[in-house]
Amino acid sequence: MNGALSGANLAHIRKRRLKSQMFGALCGAAAFIAVAILLTLIGKLLVDGLNRVSWSFLTSMPSQMFPAKAGIKSSLVGSMWVMALTILFVVPLGVGAAIYLEELQTRENWFTRFVRINIANLAGVPSIVFGMLGLTLFVYVFGFGKSILTGALTMAILVLPMVILVSQEALKAVPKSFREASLAMGTTQWQTVRRVVLPNALPGILTGIILAAARAIGETAPLIVVGAVGLVTFLPDSVDDRYTVLPLQILDWAQHPRAEFKTAAAAAILVLIALLLVLNSAAIIIRARAQKKV
């Protein structure tokens, strides 16, 4: 009988099925572990720091002497300065570069090919190396010193590849027919880009800018290299002032020998992660709205 399976064969099939199920369970377990890691980390932060977060924590200066009174005013303000200036510098550069690559020089030549390869490579350079570029170029050669301006310029170069790549994707997603319709009406290329392509690509570009802001707010290493300080008890008046940022304040407190400062570090991390969550949700909402419109 060719339809029947011998006992040995059946046992073999059962074993293979069992193995297959075990492999599936293993993959599921890995996913579960990844989520468990994230939840453990967040839970640990809430346990350590949630009680410490208060209005006065946000509005007090840091203190070496009194961990219970120390706050994150100077670092929060510093982070806002750096983030705002970084966005100011990187948006025209990143969007301009993307427009050049996707709209103005659509036929590939040696220059565009070189730029494309270069952007991919630049995105893989460790962040601390950007700090070293900033140290020599902005601090010493341009003479900006260890100022907010230097920090923001360094950060702008760091997030530039990301802004270019996301903007390119956003421009690519605009249908070709839109451009053709506009050009057929006798507009110039720039008029088409400004009035037709950019408005349609705006949600995508905005998402990229928000993600760049999130990156800029969390980065620490390059800012240490270009001279941001751990403990600052004044607010910067201008872009030439010295400054600290939230991650650096966290570093300072996390490395402090006194345990009370660990609590302050956890609280500052919660504020930082809350900021990142706000930025990320904004990006998600913008993306969702744009998809609904189409």
């Binding site: 290299v225 966290i250 996390a254």
Partner: protein, 315 residues
Amino acid sequence: MATLGFESKIGEKITNAASKAMGRAIRENAVRTFCFFCAAVSIIATVGIVYVLVSETVPFFKEASLIEFLTGRTWQPTHINTPQYGVWPLLMGSLMITIGSGLVSIPLGLLVGIYLAEYAPSGVRKVLKPLLELLAGIPSVVFGYFALTLITPALKNVIPGISPLNAAAGAIVVGFMTLPLVASLCEDAISAVPKALSEAAYGLGSTKAEVIIKIVLPSALSGIVASFILALSRAVGETMAVTIAAGATPRFTLDPTKDIMTMTAQIVNFSKGDIDRGDIRYLSIFAIGLLLFVITFTMNLVAQRFVRKVGRPAK
């Protein structure tokens, strides 16, 4: 006279149109030039990085010999009497973090990637993907805090002799950091494998695990390997988590329970104390930075080679 006025009106219109067209042309050119400049900035940045790293490293090798730097086993550039410039302790620190993080991120990331591409129901995917993105978005300094307050105490239960700052905790949190990268790149590579291949295998009576392990994974291999290399390259360049977790003692050792120092941690440490240009600390961070750049750049190039293979149809 009337005809003349008429003609002059036309002439005016023509000159108006001409000047408008000229204005447009100028604007068009200005925009083009500006955008060209923007695109060029990314190249200037790369050239700037290489130039700065090389030009500031040259004076370093007036103090130290290249051979000592690349072969020496002692790193104490600021020692007053007998400065020594062997980079190996820092390299081994970075190596331990990189390999250790790979032991965490590679198996976990690959399995999560397989789960996402082959097993996860769409509802689970919709929750899992943003959670992984969230994990990837947590700043490096925060992972340092976790290593210090969560991982090291946990490790102490297993290895009582472990030092309060140690390479193992640093490696584990860097593994957590790079896990989402491996998972999402592996998912992409697996999803890109043509359905016909796995359907043919199912048609021959294979089980799901057999299809995945014997057909899908080998077809997606280049993308998977690329994700591993990228994760390791990220770990080499990782700075804040290892600075906080792994310590600041350059040691020629591969013992993960000891406090060590990575290349990146040394750069941060020397940068912290307001260094002046030309100072030996300033010079040595550029020598280390150049080495770091060369290592990560090579790894990224190799990874890109692998990625390019994915696009090609299988023969």
